[in-house]
Amino acid sequence: MKTRRLDNYGKINRDKILSFRWDKKNYKGFEGDTLASALLANNIGIVGRSFKYHRPRGIFSSGVEESGALVTIGSKDRRDPNVRATTQELYNGLEASGQNAFPNVNFDLAGINNYLGRFFAAGFYYKTFMGIPPFEWGRGTAIWMFFEKFIRKAAGMGSASELPDPDSYEHAHDFCDLIVVGSGPAGVAAAIEAAEKKLDVILVEQDSLVGGDQLAENNFDNSRIKNQLENLGIKIMTRTTAFGLYDNCVVGLLERVTDHISAPNVNIPRQRFWTIRAKHIIVGAGAIERHIAFNNNDIPGVMTVNASKHYLNRYGVLTGKRIAIATNNDSVYETAQQLSEAGANVTVLDSRTNLEIETNKSFEIRKGYVPYNINGSKKIHSLDVSKSEDINKSETINCDQVLLSGGWSPAVHLLSHRGVRPKWDYSNACFLPSDSKENITMVGSSRGLWNKNDCIASGIAGTTDALNRLGISKTNYFFPKPGGWKNPIQPLYEVKYKKSRSKSFVDYQHDVTTDDVRLAHREGFISVEHLKRYTTLGMANDQGKMGNIIGLSLMAELLNKEIPEVGTTVFRPPYTPVSIGALSGRNVGKHFRPLRVTPMHQWNIDHGAKMIEVGLYQRPWYYPKENETLSDSYIREASTVRKTVGICDITSLGKIAIQGPDSSEFLNRIYSNGFSKLQVGKARYGIMLRDDGIVMDDGTSWRLAENEYFMTTSTGEAAKVMSWLEELLQTRWTNLNVNVTSVSEQWAGVSIAGPKSREVLNNCVDDSLVVTNNNLPFMGVTSTFLKGNIPCRIARISFSGELAFEVYVKSDFANTMMDLLWENAKKYDGCLYGLEALGALRVEKGHVTAAELDGRVTIDDAGLSKMASTKKSYIGSAMRKRGVLKNNDREILVGFFPTNLKETFNAGTIVCEKNNIKGQGIGRITSVTYSPELGHWIGLGFVKGGLDKWKDTNLVGADPVRNKQMNLKVVSPHMIDPNGERMYA
């Protein structure tokens, strides 16, 4: 094939020369080129190697259906694999390379695969590893494990960059009355009609220019149409692909903002992921020309007829000198004439014998001829053709290019996304869209209209349909009938070749041959869904845009059925590939999810806190002094709390205001323990169960007044508990007069814990009498003032097991409170303590948190049976008694010590009996810590039967992930101060 640029053709800007690199060599192109047209202009025929057989591949098309010219664009962190050269706009400095080839696409060592084809037939993965005949050697997984790494390396096309993506992506939303997909004659007519009827219209075009297939016309004026559309106020979105349709007329689109620019402004996103909500959708997505399966139909130089027309008239590239065109329909003749006028020697082989065509006779038409074999390997030398009826009388045509047109497939993909199955049309040999009950209308050649006037008429009819459906008008309309060619199409999908070892390709991109389809049939994979999965037909980057129909027709022939009886695979989004970057948009790195900080976040950091994420919250983890490690620090902090006093930010706990005359009754129903007798000025620890009797959350509720409570929840369950309370009040107990309000953000809280906590607090409150043991006994609550007239709520609640208080102030006073408390705590050699020390303190006490309350644990499992009232009914009270939850074999909360106290263990360790170390064992360790109080490692966890069963037994902790094993003993979860003397002090 000799391709060259013609002087008088094309709409490229010849004043603007662009240089680019292809496989490490420099070339030149023009503004307006695609990479494909520039490669063709430079007479580069081989642009890639095929997927399995590593056969040389050229450029097959000029659009999104491309299945040969998949290339890698860019380098280093901007390396983007499997980009269609046919849709990649050329820019100055563009770097591109061929794929799937070593050392390069012209000479590829793996080309040997072409001769090993019989090992790579459909389903070869599955079969090869069933064992290798004759002795079924290597049966099983071992051989797969061995070969896997080689196969993984050989499979796939280009490879993505492993570096972080330097570009940014954006999510955007818009809405309109009517969105029109495709700016061909039909789409433009629809948009204009709608805009004239005062609809708010968005017109979407995947190309950089509006016009659709008209861009391949030699006299098409793109700017005139663009001006007309803009003057009507139509929003035009070019370089934007509507990749999917979703419920309620939502369109997903990808806008390629900077993919065509050599040095994009870093402040502009590379791509925009649009969600557009319309009242009506008109799809004028066009049609895609099919190829024909015959031997060697993939040799570089094979192309669709329409593609060569685009290259000629849009890019000024003549794709061959001696061109053979094989067709079964009328659509090729205009192109044939233009190619011959441009200087090519053209022969048209039309499979039809009866046909009337008016031409200027500048090219030869051979009626009733079909191609059956291409001679050549890296380029076309000649084409073997024969009279359709008699394949024996063959002739050879010398040519350097073969253009194919096996008919046209309307792009019904978007409608298919909505579950609308297309119907087969015999007279046009294609699937046509069915009508949709949703507000979606198909227009133009995507509804099987082959001439321009029909397309325009269908666009106007489509808008009338939209106006009627939207209730704006009641106008009669009709769509032109599908078709529009003078001579009917003659179905032609495959021309068989008798010689063995021929390869005639159905799906170029995955190297699926006609023999693969036959093999699938022989082996019983006859449904289209099985055919697809067994052969990978239609599963590549192009999703079978060209080859699917050929595969279906072959299967239909084998089954002796018609194509519609065989069926069609359902197209799913995306129409063309969407980058992962665009899907994630700005939700990357720190913006992956929202960040929540407490009002004393900065105060904590200023005082040396290292932070840790808990859910969305940043919480102080530990406060290291000088060279302290995490464990140095938390051990010091926990010991300080037990010895003197410590202060901990607990603002992240959920806080809910519960108000109203039925508040007590409400709490009594949601907590498993009694709340009706809680006095004003007292708090109570409570456990909430789910309907099914499993523990949902725990927390405290403080009775501030007769009809007012202040509830705290765990950090992680705060939102869930809030929704749950609202659900109960709004759906189940609608006669309860209670109001719940989340006040989590309004209050800042600290825990001040340790034997000196009362003294510290005493110095901080206005009225020192309020925190005495008498006035504020264990679980007492008071509303009072900190020094400086700061209103606060104090409850004597302990999570650490020490004398402790929770103090809440309005969030604005958080820093003032911290300053005040810290200044006084320092006087007692107190410390600030973080989550790690908090964890150590609570594990020592056997207090459960989310690590234990994991949604599988009952109140009895957690050793909190006393918290389950027997005097009342509450949420979960019936279901917690069901059989499986009362089983003797359930895992019960216990404490763990290593038998050798010098040993350590980790959370996640599986607890096993000594002589039975396997599987899930008899329990698990959920939380571990070094206990400063006891001087060794301790754990909390669960074991079947609990403490009573295993009290004096030596058990084993198996930690296969860390390759560790240790002896364990089970102890009471209340590992220090089991009677709570310190708390009540």
Partner: protein
């Protein structure tokens, strides 16, 4: 991409809402038997077509809603507050 017409906030994207569950369950009284609760909690119809379900306008007014939605097409026929008093308010404001 469902749109739910919240009686308080107006038509909003479903991403503002959280799905609840079957809105037709009559939860038994708290002292009802295990059997009644088992029925209420675990047994669900798998309806093809319109069903009543609860949604929570969690990123909006926080109202719990009864939504009549088709499980086939996502079409929504009706939306009303779960709470009968709120239903009355909505009715009166029509």
């Amino acid at each position: 991409m469902i749109r739910i017409n919240c009686p308080y906030c107006g038509e909003r994207d479903h991403s503002e809402f959280s799905y609840g569950g079957d809105a037709t369950i009559n939860y038994p009284s708290l002292d009802a038997s295990e059997k009644e609760w088992t029925e209420a909690i675990f047994f669900r119809k798998n309806i093809k077509g319109f069903q009543f379900e609860t949604w929570h306008h969690s990123n909006g007014c926080r109202m719990w809603l009864v939504v009549e939605r088709s499980t086939v097409t996502h079409e929504i026929k009706s939306v009303k507050p779960c709470h009968p008093n709120l239903q009355k308010v909505v009715e009166n404001n029509k």
